[in-house]
Structure formats: structure tokens, C-alpha cells
């Protein structure tokens, strides 16, 4: 099977104000298994547009219906924020019926293709990969296989696409038979494109040329690990979209779609609010805006433009049907709906089910893979524990914090002597908690210890030593606090602190963390940090030993 990729605008640069600096005509024919931009390594400076003659692979596409030359019904199917939900156990809240799962989503897409009275475009609005064990263990590879098989034709870059770092994203971009789009991400000080990520694509469906522009929330840097986006700038999207939309029209696009990893919601009266509404209200020459990021369900219009957000996790499929004048351009809305992907009564897509099953089997084995060796048992406990100390040390190390806190209840089992597998770590830290950083004053550092000290146990820490009397009244239990080198904590001084997102939001009554300065969810899963740290120890030929106890001194 072959995909035609017409890289008309290789090295064309878009400055943010729409200037075209250089255009080269170049057509590449690449095998479907080859990188979509084989000549442009992702995150180098690259081509700005891929033009597909037939869209991506269309393994189950129905024959295109015969339509009058100028009157075309275009069906756009959108999945957003799929988050690796390949084996969904979700139920529709309204009916209680099972929904979602990759093979079921595939069946719904197949059915829409079969029934459509014109061309069908299948797209995604970002955050497709991160979020389930199979997807996370394969670093998103299985999701891209799923999308390739179903013939997705474009995907906006979401913030979670950066979760495993730039190198993994580059791999996924190479693997994908569709372009990843983000017109408002720039490199090189804000004037160049990060290679591999394209601002837009053009898909040709018969005589109809469809322009697709991708954008991401300009606030993405606050929800992406800074290490993953070093050197990248995220700009306001609306002006960029308007410039590209005008350019696409000049190039013959009769329909222009925006895939926006930008959220919003809908009021009781149907009004769409939030950043997606802000964006749509400022756009010109755009036929539909398909959003994401907020996991909401939105279906309406802003500025006479259909605006949709189709939920999350594959439990809904967004459908926009447009009547398009393929001769003069212009469109009118025929249908806009966000449908539950009910599993009952549909025949799951067998090819997709096979892909998911093969990865499930593959990673069932990976959970048994030895990642490190413990020199002796490392125990958890409600008091200070060696495993709690170790996990806090790793948490602190992962983000460069001075102090770390972890609730004892977040550590669910002990670490036995001998081989440690990924499965062990999943059992020790089953919750998908991320590491959060913030600045706390010395007074607040002590307050966190007070809130974590009861007669039943203490909070696990790293970077500090303290003494306590659990039987004393609340607020008077902590008797002394120093840094690990013995330096007393200064009440007014600010310290960079790490904790998990559960505690940072007041879980286990840790209200002090909500008062921190510059709170930042790093999006680094604590479990991933522990696995990475242990793998590094293994590569260095070192066993995992329990830290020496003595951080929390119990006074009688």
C-alpha cells in the first residue's frame, strides 16, 4: 500500500505573520511503513505541509458516492483525547451501556464510512496516546498503529504528546501515516518550525481540496514537562490560523478545518464558553473547529462556525457533516453531533482488535521484565519507612527539589529482596499520581509535617529531618526540623518542594500544599520516575539498597 506525500513547500517557513520565505516543489512517494517525512527528521527544521492525494490509508473506506461536481457532502469524524483507551471499560452515564475501546471506535468509523453520501475525513484533536498501561508501555506505538489502520488523516498535537519526551514523539511522528499538526509551535527563537510537526495539511478527496490546520493551547507550556519542550515557543493561535486559512484558500482549498487542542464547555443555554470559543470568535475563512483538551462535550456554533469537542477516551465520536460547494467554496452545516460509541450491536473492527491484542500480549511479558535487583527487602510503613524514604528520594531527584513528601497510603506494598519487575512497581504505586513542585516557606514545610503527623503515622519525606511527638495536640507535634545536613529550616525562606498531585490538591487533609507558590504539575508519573531511576541503577550495575532510617525521630 502506498501513500502519496506531496511536499510542495519543503523548507517553507511561516514566521507567525504568514510570510512565505521559500517554497520548493517536491513530491515523494513513500511506502506506508516509512516515515511520513523521511527527508525531514522530526524536530529539525522541516517541511511545513504534507499534501495527501487520497488521505491516509483507507483500509475500510466505502467507495465514494457519486455526487454532483459542485455539491459535496463532507463528513468529518473526530476523536479527541483518546488517552490510549484501547480496552475501554467505560459506560455511558446516561444509559449504563458499555462504550468505547479501539475496535469499537473502529466499527463506528467503519459504519460512518459505509453510510456517508460523500467523502469522509477522519481526524483527531490531540492527546491520543498517554493514559493506559498498554499504550504507556509501548510509548504510544499501539495507538499510532490503531490510527494508521483506521486511516486517520491528521492529528493535532496535544500537550500529552510530549509526555515521554521529544525523542519518543519523533518516533511516533515517523511511525504515523498521517501528519501531526500544530501551527502555533515554533522553534529557533520563534521563527522556525520544529521539524516533523506541520502547521497544516491538505487532503484531496476527489475534486475537493480540504485544508486542515492544527493548533494547541498557548498555555501548553504550563502543563508540559519543560524538559520536553526546551527551545519551543507556543504562540496565540488565532492570527496564525487566519493567515494559513487565507493561504489555503488561495491554494484551492474549498474547506478549511481547524483541529484545536484547546478546551471549552457549553452552558445550559447552548452558549460555548472557554478558550475554544475565544478562538472561534476570531477566525475567518474556517468551516469547522474541532477542539479537545477539556474532555468536555461541545456541539454548537460560534461566529457561525461549527465548534465541537467530542469528549475523551473514545467514548464518543464527533460527527460534522457539511454541504460544501466544491467549485466556489463555502459550506453549510448539515449535522453536528457527538455520539456515544456504544459497544452493543456493533461488530468490532477485527484488524484493530488484532493490533490491540498483539500489544497486550507483548506487554503482559514486559510487566515481568526485571528492571533492577534489591539487595534486601525494602519495607513500607505508616511510620518512617525505608521504601517511603527511597520513593521520596527518587521524587526529589526527578525534579531537583530540596524537599519531598509522599503520603504513606500511596505506597501499597513492600519491595522484596531480589529481582524487581515493572509489575512490582505497578503494585507498589498503583495510582497514576504525578509529581508536583511548588515553593513553600520554612513555616509551611513544618506545617506540612504537622498535617502529615498523626497517632497513626507520618508522612514520608526526603531532604529534611525532624522530631515529633504524635500524642501532642495537633499543630504542636513537630518539635524540630532541619535540612538533611542539619541546617535549621528558616521560617521565612522559600524551599522548592515536591509532592504528588493527590497531596498537592489537599488529599489526606494536606491543605498547606494548596497555599504554595508557583505550583506546577510536572506531568511526570511518580511510578515512571521510580522505574526510570531503578533502570538507571541497573545499567550502572548497582543494586537497590534501602536508605538508612533516621529522618523522623519519635520523641517519647
Amino acid at each position: 500500500m502506498q501513500v502519496q506525500i506531496n511536499l510542495i513547500s519543503l523548507l517553507k517557513k511561516y514566521s507567525g505573520v504568514g510570510a512565505t520565505i521559500l517554497a520548493l516543489g517536491l513530491t515523494l512517494a513513500v511506502l506506508s511503513s516509512a516515515p511520513i517525512l523521511s527527508s525531514a527528521p522530526p524536530f529539525g527544521e522541516a517541511a511545513v505541509r504534507a499534501e495527501t492525494a487520497t488521505g491516509a490509508e483507507e483500509p475500510s473506506a466505502a467507495p465514494q458516492a457519486s455526487v454532483p461536481a459542485c455539491d459535496v457532502t463532507l463528513t468529518i469524524l473526530c476523536v479527541t483525547d483518546f488517552h490510549g483507551a484501547l480496552l475501554s471499560e467505560d459506560k455511558d452515564f446516561a444509559t449504563g451501556k458499555p462504550v468505547g475501546g479501539a475496535a469499537v471506535v473502529g466499527a463506528w468509523i467503519d459504519a460512518e464510512r459505509q453510510n456517508a453520501k460523500g467523502p469522509v475525513l477522519v481526524v483527531a484533536s490531540g492527546d491520543m496516546m498517554q493514559g493506559s498501561a498498554i499504550s504507556n508501555l509501548s510509548r504510544g506505538e499501539v495507538v499510532i498503529e490503531f490510527m494508521n489502520r483506521l486511516g486517520f488523516e491528521a492529528c493535532a498535537i496535544g500537550n500529552h504528546e510530549f509526555d515521554w519526551g521529544v525523542d519518543v514523539l519523533k518516533e511516533r511522528i515517523r511511525q504515523a501515516r498521517f501528519p501531526f499538526l500544530a501551527a502555533n509551535i515554533f522553534s529557533g527563537g520563534g521563527t522556525k518550525r520544529p521539524g516533523g510537526i506541520l502547521p497544516y495539511t491538505i487532503v484531496q478527496k476527489g475534486d475537493l481540496k480540504i485544508g486542515i490546520i492544527g493548533v494547541i493551547t498557548e498555555d501548553a507550556p504550563v502543563v508540559i514537562n519543560p524538559r520536553s519542550i526546551k527551545g519551543l515557543k507556543f504562540q496565540r493561535p488565532e492570527e496564525i490560523v487566519n493567515k494559513i486559512a487565507a493561504q489555503l484558500r488561495k491554494e484551492g482549498a474549498k474547506v478549511v478545518i481547524v483541529l484545536a487542542h484547546i478546551g471549552g464547555s457549553q452552558e445550559k443555554n447552548g452558549a460555548i464558553v472557554g478558550p475554544i470559543a475565544d478562538l472561534a470568535s476570531k477566525l475567518r475563512g474556517v468551516d469547522a473547529v474541532l477542539g479537545g483538551h477539556s474532555h468536555t462535550i461541545v456541539s454548537g456554533t460560534v461566529n457561525s462556525i461549527p465548534v465541537m469537542i467530542s469528549g475523551s477516551n473514545g467514548i464518543r465520536l464527533g460527527i460534522v457533516r457539511l454541504k460544501v460547494d466544491a467549485c466556489k467554496g463555502g459550506s453549510s452545516l448539515l449535522e453536528e453531533s457527538v455520539k456515544p460509541t456504544f459497544a452493543e450491536g456493533v461488530e468490532p473492527n477485527k484488524a484493530v482488535a488484532s493490533i490491540v491484542e498483539s500489544f497486550r500480549k507483548k506487554f503482559a511479558g514486559q510487566l515481568d521484565k526485571v528492571i533492577a535487583v534489591a539487595s534486601e527487602p525494602i519495607m513500607r510503613g505508616r511510620g518512617e519507612s525505608a521504601l517511603g524514604d527511597l520513593i521520596c528520594d527518587i521524587m526529589r531527584d526527578a525534579v531537583g527539589a530540596a524537599i519531598a513528601y509522599e503520603n504513606s497510603g500511596g505506597i501499597r506494598t513492600d519491595l522484596n529482596k531480589g529481582s524487581i519487575t515493572g509489575g512490582h512497581i505497578y503494585r507498589i504505586i498503583p495510582f497514576d499520581n504525578t509529581i508536583v513542585t511548588m515553593y513553600l516557606s520554612g513555616k509551611q514545610v513544618k506545617q506540612a509535617l504537622e498535617q502529615g503527623t498523626t497517632e497513626k503515622g507520618v508522612v514520608q519525606v526526603s531532604g529534611i529531618r525532624y522530631s515529633y511527638k504524635p500524642g501532642d495536640p495537633s499543630g504542636q507535634r513537630i518539635k524540630s526540623v532541619t535540612l538533611e545536613d542539619g541546617t535549621p529550616i528558616s521560617p521565612a525562606k522559600l524551599y522548592l518542594v515536591a509532592t504528588n498531585d493527590f497531596m498537592a490538591n489537599g488529599g489526606d487533609r494536606f491543605t498547606v500544599f494548596q497555599e504554595g507558590k508557583k505550583i506546577r504539575n510536572t506531568q511526570i508519573l511518580l511510578r515512571d520516575a521510580v522505574i526510570s531511576w531503578m533502570e538507571a541503577r541497573q545499567r550502572a550495575g548497582k543494586e537497590i539498597a534501602p536508605p538508612e532510617l533516621g529522618r523522623a525521630e519519635l520523641l517519647q
Binding site: 504550563v222 452552558e267 464558553v273 462535550i297 477516551n313
Partner: protein
């Protein structure tokens, strides 16, 4: 409304009408946690769900935006 999160340490989010100030780096899950830990537990247990003003469910990992309104709805009541 819709002030940029990058310029604010906290954004305003409403859960069942109660105003919360929360870091823009957090999600719906965290807004519930800050609002009422038991409500989050109910949602995780499948006994309640988070909805928008129209009653459409919202995923726990969804991003927040300034001015967003969330409602925790019991499935039993529904």
C-alpha cells in the same frame, strides 16, 4: 473570564457553584479533590459523574480553564 493561565498562578473554577482557585496545571480530578475528596471518590467508584451545565459528562483528566463550571451529579439521583 478566559484570562490566560500562563499569567496566573491560579485560575477560578466552580464545582457545584462553589468557587475554587486552582493551579492551571491541574485537571478536573484535582478540582474535585480540592472541592470534596468524597465527591471524587464517588466519581471514581462510578456512583457519581462530573458534568457541565447541560449534564454532559466530563472526563476526570480534562484540562481546566478559567471560569470553568463543573457539577458533580449522583447517578442514583439521575
Amino acid at each position: 473570564m478566559n484570562q490566560k493561565a500562563t499569567t496566573h498562578e491560579r485560575i477560578k473554577v466552580f464545582v457545584n457553584g462553589k468557587q475554587l482557585w486552582i493551579s492551571p496545571t491541574f485537571s478536573v480530578r484535582h478540582a474535585l479533590l480540592a472541592h470534596d475528596e468524597d465527591a471524587l471518590a464517588d466519581v471514581i467508584a462510578g456512583e457519581a459523574y462530573v458534568a457541565d451545565a447541560r449534564g454532559n459528562e466530563i472526563g476526570l483528566d480534562g484540562a481546566l480553564f478559567d471560569g470553568m463550571r463543573l457539577y458533580v451529579k449522583s447517578l442514583e439521583v439521575e
